[in-house]
Each structure stands twice: as C-alpha cells, then as structure tokens.
C-alpha cells in the first residue's frame, strides 16, 4: 500500500486519460462481480425469507423445530470453540516458544482438517464411533451414543474448526518473539502468571480473531455434521441441517427464514473481523491460507 514513493512524479508517470479509464473500468468490473456474485445471494436470502410478509417470517423462525435447532447449534459451538481455543493456545505455545524435532511436521498435521472434505471428516468419526466402527460395539454395550447423537456433532464440528485458532496464533506469536515472557521468568514469575499477565494480553486480538473464525464455522458447518447427525428433528438437527430439511420439504419460505438467521451471523462475523483488523492494527493471516513454516 505504501510502496508509492514521495518523489514528485514526472509527466510520464501521471496516469493518462486511457489509463484512468482503464482504472475505472477495472473497479467497476470488480464491483459488478462482487455485487452479482456475493451481495445478490445475501439479498436473495432475505427477499425469499420475507416474500410472504413479516408475520410469516417470524412465525417460521419461531417454530419449535427451528428454535431447538438454534439451541443445538449454540450448544455445539459453545463446546467446540473453547476446546479449540485451549488447543490453539497450547499448540502455538509449544510451537513458537520451543525448538524441537518434527515441528514442521506438527504444523502440517494441524493443517490436515483444512484439506479434508467435510463429508470425509464426518465419515471418519463414523469409522471410529459408528456401529461398524472401532469403538461401535463397545459403545453399544454401554448404551452410549456418539454417531446420530450430539457428541458426534460436537466431534465433527471440533474437527472442521480444529486449526482455526492455532493458525492465527502461530504466525502472530512467532512474530512477537518470547523476550517479554523470558524476562518475566527470569524475574521469578511462575508459568501461569506469565501466561495470564504477559502472553494473554499480548495475543488477545489474534486469539479473538481466531475464535471468531472458529465460532462462525462451527455455527455454519453442514457437510461433516450432516454425515454424523442422522437428521432427527428436534434432537440432532443443527440450524444448517434444519435449513436443508425445510428446503427439501419445499417449505422454501421457512428454509430461507432459518437461513436468514445464519446469514445474519455471517454478516456479524465479517463486521467483528473487520473491527478487530482496524482497531487492533492486527492484520492476521487470512483464514485457511497456508502458514509459513
């Protein structure tokens, strides 16, 4: 951005009229693309949801099935996200504060969930916990349900959001270095007080950023959850699955009404993300981009 030098440009470097027109044309093309390709689908969600009026819209989202799906989605996110926050902090502490053999392998392994298809992710848990899976018979004996039940949905969600916090923290903590923490230890602080008083205040924005990404994905995850859910209405149906079920039953207005809640969540996510980028000066690596190891 700041690459432009302050040296006064000579006449050659001034944009000519055709150059300026080219510039405007490219900007318009970009706007047209984003408008037609990104904004229109969002507008369409709300237009379809409200096509039968506000009354029906509110009735649709106040249906018991939609409300219970909403509750399940909140429950799943509230378990999966904190787990991955703890993991993200532990992993980035180990990776950025110590040097050990196999570190790049570990970073690569952490990235695996990003490159696995959500459907394959879901099915991996069926292979372990399903009736024909490794632990299936044992679980059956003890009357424990993982697949087609809430624990399976939580596991699938944990898997797809697994690297999000770690990927934000690793490059951030790497760039920050460990001087402050080392100073605290040398001055006699114990491990936990170093973490709470030095590390956490330093990484809080990057941590929040990763948490937001993980939360957003865990609210919206469809493929992985769809495989392990069993689609039992009122019990194992998360909000995205409820959208699918309503849609497949041709209750389009209701499907889009439920989808509008998820769209709102997505918009809120983008706003918070942008706010963190602007206010904290943190411009973290965009999600799902490869971590430089």
């Amino acid at each position: 951005m700041s690459g432009r030098s302050n040296v006064p440009s000579s006449a050659i470097l001034q944009p000519t009229v055709p150059q300026r027109m080219g510039r405007v044309a490219l900007i318009l093309l970009a706007l047209l693309f984003l408008g037609g390709f990104l904004i229109l689908p969002v507008v369409a969600v709300f237009a379809q949801a409200l096509s039968q009026g506000w009354k029906l819209y509110f009735e649709s989202i106040r249906q018991e099935d939609v409300l219970s799906a909403l509750r399940l989605t909140a429950l799943v996110a509230s378990i999966a996200v904190p787990l991955n926050v703890v993991f993200g902090i532990a992993a980035s502490w180990a990776i950025t504060r110590f040097d050990f053999h196999g570190k790049s392998l570990l970073i690569t392994l952490i990235d695996i969930p990003l490159s696995v298809s959500p459907v394959v992710a879901g099915m991996m848990y069926v292979e372990v916990f399903g009736l024909h899976g490794w632990l299936g018979p044992w679980l059956q004996e003890h009357n424990l349900h993982v697949i087609f039940a809430v624990p399976g949905i939580v596991l699938a969600t944990v898997f797809v959001t697994f690297p999000f916090v770690a990927r934000e923290l690793i490059p951030f903590m790497q760039a920050q270095g460990s001087d402050e923490e080392t100073a605290a230890v040398v001055l006699g602080a114990n491990g936990w007080s170093v973490f709470w008083r030095v590390t956490l205040p330093n990484i809080k924005w990057a941590l929040l950023y990763g948490t937001i990404l993980a939360a957003s994905r865990s609210i919206g995850e469809f493929g992985a959850v769809s495989v392990v859910s069993g689609h039992i209405r009122g019990q194992t149906t998360t909000l995205p699955l409820e959208v699918e079920m309503l849609y497949n039953e041709y209750s389009f207005t209701a499907a889009f009404a439920a989808a509008s809640l998820l769209t709102l969540a997505a918009i809120v996510t983008l706003v918070i993300k942008k706010m963190i980028e602007v206010t904290s000066g943190v411009h973290p690596v965009p999600e799902e981009e490869e971590v430089e190891s």
């Binding site: 037609g36 394959v120 889009f256 997505a266």
Partner: protein
C-alpha cells in the same frame, strides 16, 4: 521424551535430544503433550481408522470400488467442475486482488471485508440462495433460460457454487503480493516505453504467479471437497451431476461403509496431493522472496 538440562549448549557429538534448543520458558511438556493427545484423538485416529478401512479388503477390492463407472463419473464431474471453478477463481480473484491492492475508491474497505463472505456464509445457505437465483424463475435464471443457458441442476451450476467458495482463496493469496510490489517498477517500465499489456505480462504476472497458483490450488482443493453449497444446485443425477462427496453420503445411507471408506480414501489421497503441491509452492515463493532480498 528427552530432557532438557539447564543451559546446555549443543555440541557436536552430543546425545540426540528431542529439543533442539533449550528455553528458560516453562510449560513445554504440558503444552506439547496436550497438543499431541488432542491431535491424535481428534485427527489422527479417525484418519487412520478410515484409511485402514479403505485398505481392509485389499488393493483389488479398493481399486474395483473406486473405479466403478458411477464413481468414475463422479470424479469427472467433481474434478472437471473444480478445475473450471479454479480457473474462474483465478481470473476474478486476480482482478479483485489487483483492484483492492492498487486502487483507492469509496467503499473499498467494505469490499475488502466482503471478499471473506464465502468463508463466513454457511455453505447450505449459499447453496439454496444460488439455486433460488439461477433456477428457471429466479432473479438471474429468468434472463438466462430464454437464451438456452441452464445453470441450476447442470454442471454449470456446480462450477458456479464451487467458484463462490473458491475465489476468496485466490484474492487472499495474491493481494499481499501485489501490495508488496513496488509501483516504481511499473513506472520505470512505463517510462522506458512499456505499454499496459507489457507491464502486466512482464512484471505483474511473473511476480504474482506463484501466489496465484497457490490460491488457485487452494480454491481447487476446497471445490473438490465441497458439499453443502453444491448439492442444492447440482441436481445430483448419477453419472451426470453427482459429485464424489455426495456419492460418499449415498453409500453411507445405503450402509455400504466399505464402499464409502474406499471412496473417502481416494478423496483423501487427492487432498494430500494438493496439500503437498501447495506446500511446495509456498517453499518456491519463499525461496524467490529470499533471492529478491
């Protein structure tokens, strides 16, 4: 696990140690231990379970399953659409990255934030919304259908949905590279008489090429594994518009766990290949950067 002792300095011929450089900071064993256990439980065990199940019947059975005509057709649909989507993503992603990196105009920040919308919007929502837009009577579909262009329920729809989820990867990979590219280089070329085409093909594209390739590979990977946004718009006709991820779900619903595991194994092989390619590209980029500095 090897033990680190005090401020021992690494000498040639010293006993092999897991830790390559000692650190005064605490919490190494706790953080790495937790990381390894969590990684093993959430990612590695399910992954190994799936791969072992895919291999259980022997190589012949595996090969027979993953080369059945319907499965082969699903690869054609998935890989063909993913390649087309990656190409479209490369073109439009490059355009957006350029506009965002080089031009200032009102609303640019909002535009920049919007690029992440496909990451934040649940895939099921994107799927039903795109379908509604491009169906026969949809806002866009109604203008295309009279011209014989059918998008919804055709391979074209699959490409569209895959491009939607894929193009942000290209923007986010290329944008930082273009931001770092000093306009002075182009200005120098312009002052020496290079026209816009020459400046683009001789300066901008060579610099941005590895990042463009990385972004496109990530878009391809995401598209190949995509499920939620595709299944609504695809029509899901076996042999014609059935993607591989859906075929896995179908196999699971038919209780054909061995078949599902075999196809999942093939998809995992593809994912890991792309991951390897992306890592090599990253390595290439870093080496180039290193050389330039």
């Amino acid at each position: 696990m090897a033990i680190v002792q005090g401020n021992q300095i690494r000498k040639p011929g010293r006993r092999w140690s897991f830790v390559t450089k000692s650190s005064p900071l605490p919490g190494f064993r706790l953080s790495l231990g937790f990381t390894m256990v969590y990684l093993t439980v959430i990612v590695l065990i399910p992954l190994v379970a799936t791969l072992l199940h895919a291999a259980r019947g022997g190589f012949g059975v595996f090969l027979h399953t993953v080369t059945a005509p319907r499965v082969l057709a699903s690869y054609r649909v998935t890989l063909g659409s993913s390649a087309a989507a990656a190409l479209l993503s490369a073109i439009f992603g490059m355009l957006l990255a350029w506009v965002l990196a080089r031009y200032t105009f009102p609303g640019k920040r909002i535009l920049d934030a919007l690029v992440d919308l496909p990451f934040a919007l649940p895939t099921a929502v994107a799927g039903i919304s795109l379908t509604a837009l491009y169906a026969e009577h949809g806002w866009i579909g109604r203008y295309l259908e009279p011209h014989g262009i059918h998008v919804a329920f055709t391979p074209l729809g699959i490409v569209l949905a895959m491009s939607f989820v894929g193009f942000p990867f290209v923007v986010r990979s290329v944008q930082p590279v273009l931001e770092d590219l000093d306009p002075a280089m182009e200005e120098a070329a312009a002052s020496l008489g290079a026209n816009a085409w020459q400046r683009t093909t001789r300066i901008i594209l060579p610099v941005a090429f590895p990042a463009l390739l990385t972004g496109s590979a990530l878009a391809f990977a995401r598209a190949a594994g995509e499920y939620g946004s595709v299944i609504f718009i695809a029509g899901n006709m076996p042999m014609k518009t059935e993607i591989t991820a859906l075929l896995i779900v179908t196999k699971l619903e038919e209780y054909d766990y061995a078949g599902a595991a075999a196809i999942a194994g093939a998809m995992l092989a593809l994912s890991f290949t792309i991951m390897l390619v992306v890592n090599l590209l990253q390595w290439w980029i870093q080496r180039r950067e290193g050389r330039r500095v």
